[in-house]
């Protein structure tokens, strides 16, 4: 690993450590990230030119969710708000930004597959991390890596399919 990457890794880990003093699982997860992911995602994306307001609202909502995490009612309210903000954003994005659209849908499905009462703080951190890395012109391999991050955090960033399996017997 190059010195520059080591430096980036240290900065990222220090920042995560600061925000995850009590829950170290996200810290552990990020420490184990492959170098390629780190290289791609070390700096928070600022490329959200057409949806600046939406991005700010989502970032703000994630903070509200984290702050209200210990209050189950507030947690549900901000969880639901986050989903609504993502759905609103989704409705404005077309197939010309397919991978961005995939990333948004991934987060919506992850939220829908895990109810607010069951989500863990490291999973909220993972969602925040993924939302921060999203760009309008995100590449396919980056979306696949973000999907991997959500899976590794124990979230399910795929559509929910119920009672489908028995059709395959």
């Amino acid at each position: 690993m190059s010195e520059a990457l080591r430096k980036i890794r240290r900065v990222v880990i220090t920042r995560i450590e600061a925000t995850c003093e009590e829950d170290t699982s996200l810290f552990k997860m990020l420490r184990e990230l492959p170098e390629e992911v780190l290289r791609t995602h070390s700096v928070a994306s600022t490329e959200f030119p057409h949806f600046t307001q939406e991005r700010e609202n989502i970032a703000e909502c994630i903070q509200e969710l984290k702050q209200s995490f210990d209050d189950p009612e507030d947690r549900q309210i901000f969880y639901s708000k986050l989903r609504t903000l993502l759905v609103d954003l989704r409705d404005k994005v077309g197939l010309d930004r397919l991978y961005f659209l995939r990333a948004i849908n991934m987060c919506i499905d992850a939220l829908e597959n895990t109810k607010s009462e069951l989500i863990e703080s490291n999973q909220v951190e993972a969602l925040e991390f993924v939302l921060r890395q999203m760009r309008e012109r995100i590449e396919e391999f980056e979306v696949n890596q973000l999907q991997e991050i959500l899976f590794n955090a124990g979230l399910k960033p795929i559509p929910k399919l119920e009672e489908t399996a028995f059709l395959y017997e």
């Binding site: 197939l95 995939r102 696949n144 899976f151 559509p159 009672e163 489908t164 399996a165």
Partner: protein
Amino acid sequence: MPQQNAFLDTTVILSKEFGSRHIKDEIEKSLGNKKKFTTKYACMEINRTFLKDAIFLHSLLVEEMDLSVVFKRVQFHPKISQRITNRCLDILSQITDKGQLRVEDSIARLANLITGLRKALLSDISIILSGTDCPLADENIVHIPPIYIIETRCTRNLPECRIVEFLEEKRDEIRKIWSSLASDESFGTLYDFLSKMIGNEKIAKGRNCQKLGDIIICLDSPNGYTIYSTNIKDFAIICKSLGKPFIGIKVPRKEKSG
């Protein structure tokens, strides 16, 4: 007490993720904290069925860009079986939120399902090599925008395929299965096929291999592992004749609404 090893067939792997709430609870309860295993052959079955259906639907959506047209094309497709039609309509209905979502979101969600399927299904399962060495189990999804492709066709000529040698090695065990099927008419087709195949294993190559899927999965299960399936009728008799422990997970049969 040593931890027990659970050997999952394709139906349990799919039901664990895409079953009803009830069946997921049943599976979770039944598996507990056992170590989970499966065979690469089951991975190939997932590629050949569920993943292929998803990729097929994705290609229709990007081609038509119109949900109602895609629903109709699947429903009235002249070349696919009713079984595949039912599976595809079910996935399409859920992916599109019963046709309420935009086609763009349906495409994006289906793409997420295709890219994330293996991780979703197999992340907590250790995969054992199949005695057949089926090379199709190792095939990866290729994205040639805007579509995805996966090779699931068996040409009978794949040099890596060891199904003939594997079935020859297991001939005695297969003979036991064959004789236990004799008394049950509902296994007539499989019984007739085994009658022709034992001693002439090369006829199992190619599409015939699919007829032996459940038997191959049971033969791939290491001794001492408990085999789990929701396909109780077929697996119970195969496992019993092989003397392998089996746990069947009951799926309530009902027509899906909507």
